[in-house]
């Protein structure tokens, strides 16, 4: 009998502690909006940020068209010279020789 009463007392005590704890917690939640500053719910995320590549890529300054044409000119000359070397001595190594063209690097 004593054991039974003890279990009931413990249960009532545990229940009381739970109710108090719950009351305290819900009271804090109710007060929280007033205490905290309003948060901006709209998060602005860059278009390419999801994949990370666009955001990570540094913005390249636009090369003037004249400079680009000079680069293409130089590229064509270098490629022709490389192709001519290959035609003179056709080997796979000469065909795939590296270029120093600024258009490629």
């Amino acid at each position: 009998m004593e054991m039974f009463l003890m279990v009931i007392c413990m249960s009532v005590f545990g229940l009381a502690v739970t109710v108090i704890a719950f009351g305290a917690a819900t009271n804090q939640q109710a007060q929280a909006p007033a205490a905290q500053p309003e948060l901006d719910t709209v998060v602005h995320v860059g278009e390419g940020r999801f994949f990370g590549d666009e955001a990570a890529r540094p913005v390249q300054p636009q090369v003037p068209v004249e400079a680009l044409l000079l680069q293409i000119d130089s590229h064509v000359r270098l490629e022709q010279a490389a192709a001519e070397s290959f035609l003179e001595y056709p080997t796979a190594a000469l065909l795939h020789s590296r270029t120093v063209s600024p258009l490629v690097h």
Binding site: V65, L69, E79, A82, A83, E84, L87, L95, V104
Partner: protein, 156 residues
Amino acid sequence: MTRGQPELFRGLAQEEIDQALATGKRITVAKGAQLFALGSDADHLYIIERGVVRLTLPMQIRGRDEDVMVEERTPGQTVGWSALIPPYRFTLKATASMEAELIVLPREALRSFLEARPAAGHTVMLNLAAVIGQRLQLFQAMWLREMQRMVEQRCA
């Protein structure tokens, strides 16, 4: 008439070369002057005597057509062999990179000259085949190099 043998007439007797060149006329063009436009009728063939001729194709750069160099031709070389190959339309644009002296050969006059001399015609056609073949092989190699770079970029 011309200094040295033009590549197109290599192997002909000097007398024949002079006769062939006599079917045309010598012109001097200023730097930047256009010899022919892309897609225009190819009625004339040009042999460069002096100066440099730039062959270009249009490339779209930032929404604008820009002339991009494909090849440069120097003295003794031929420009505009489309004049001898159907459908007789220029497939490039030619501009003088600097003041140039050229011999302009009208297609019909050159053709008549070569038809009347089959041996010379044969030699000229072989020379023409060499010019065309050289360009084909050159651009084949250049194309493959570009493809190789593309594949390397893809596989990187």
